[in-house]
Amino acid sequence: MGWAIALHGGAGDIPLSLTLGSRQPREEALHHCLQIGVEALKAKKPPLDVVELVVRELENIPQFNAGKGSVLTNKGTVEMEASIMDGRTKNCGAVSGLKTVVNAVSLARLVMEKTPHVYLAFHGAEEFAKEQGVETADSSHFITAENVERLKQAKEAHRVQIDYTQPLQNGTKEETSNTNGEVQLG
């Protein structure tokens, strides 16, 4: 038995032709976050601290879809969500509908540790964030030009899409969309 760590920055239709300019910063970010996690485990930090630390770092990297760089709703806003769970105790915390909290995962941990609840959402979660004094920012902090463009493309294609879905080419029909424009893969 020994320590181990694994992390992800999202799955989806990532093209094999991904340009170096798109690939390199993400690969560097993965290396960087992995190193942070490895050092924390070597320093004997508890796994709960390690996963929070690594996810906070991933949230701060705009190339990934969480925190800064979150994708946009149909209203052009961000609504971020996160959860965390301790395997030993099965204690857990979760948050949804965040518009201003810089690191949603840390608020999820506070829900776990500071309330008798598991899940807080929308204005209740924002109110709890203020009570706890966690770092917040204006919504513009989370919105990137790339995600404004992705929302525009998704709206033009009348679809809801998962991470890294490629834009439809002109004339390409979205075969898996229903009348609401939602992808029906499930």
């Binding site: 992800h8 996963v51 996810v55 879809n65």
Partner: protein
């Protein structure tokens, strides 16, 4: 979506997942990431963080399914994670990262790719997309 799972040398496990959701999602939509058992789960056997199409992941409660297969069928982490992703999920919808209390790592996905990385105490390390 981003996520991380970790186990220490004593077999203590934890999991965390965070996301902005889907591009062009309806205001008020909640995905799998904050739902314990769907996008995130950890117990004394394993820890799992999931990414992909939230609605499909919610229907399949895949994080808990991986743990349940290990708990009830006694299969390995690799076998449980692979089965859930490749046999229980529609192709192109999901991937996950998982670690077990014994320090095993699994990172299966049925999408084109998944940004992922892992390391173990014995010196193994991997960063990959496809």
């Amino acid at each position: 979506t981003v996520g991380c799972v970790a186990v220490d040398s004593y077999g203590n496990l934890a999991s965390a997942t965070s996301t902005g959701g889907l591009v062009n999602k309806r205001v008020g939509r909640i995905g799998d990431s904050p739902i314990i058992g769907a996008g995130t789960y950890a117990n004394e056997l394993c820890a799992i963080s999931v990414t992909g199409e939230g609605e499909a992941i919610l229907r399949a409660t895949i994080a808990r399914d991986v743990a349940a297969m290990m708990e009830f069928k006694g299969v390995s982490l690799e076998e449980a994670a692979s089965y859930v992703i490749h046999e229980c999920m529609p192709k192109g919808t999901a991937g996950l990262v998982a670690v077990s209390a014994a320090g095993e790592v699994a990172m299966p996905y049925n999408t084109t790719g998944m940004f992922r990385a892992c390391a173990t105490e014995d010196g193994y390390s991997e960063v990959a997309i496809w």
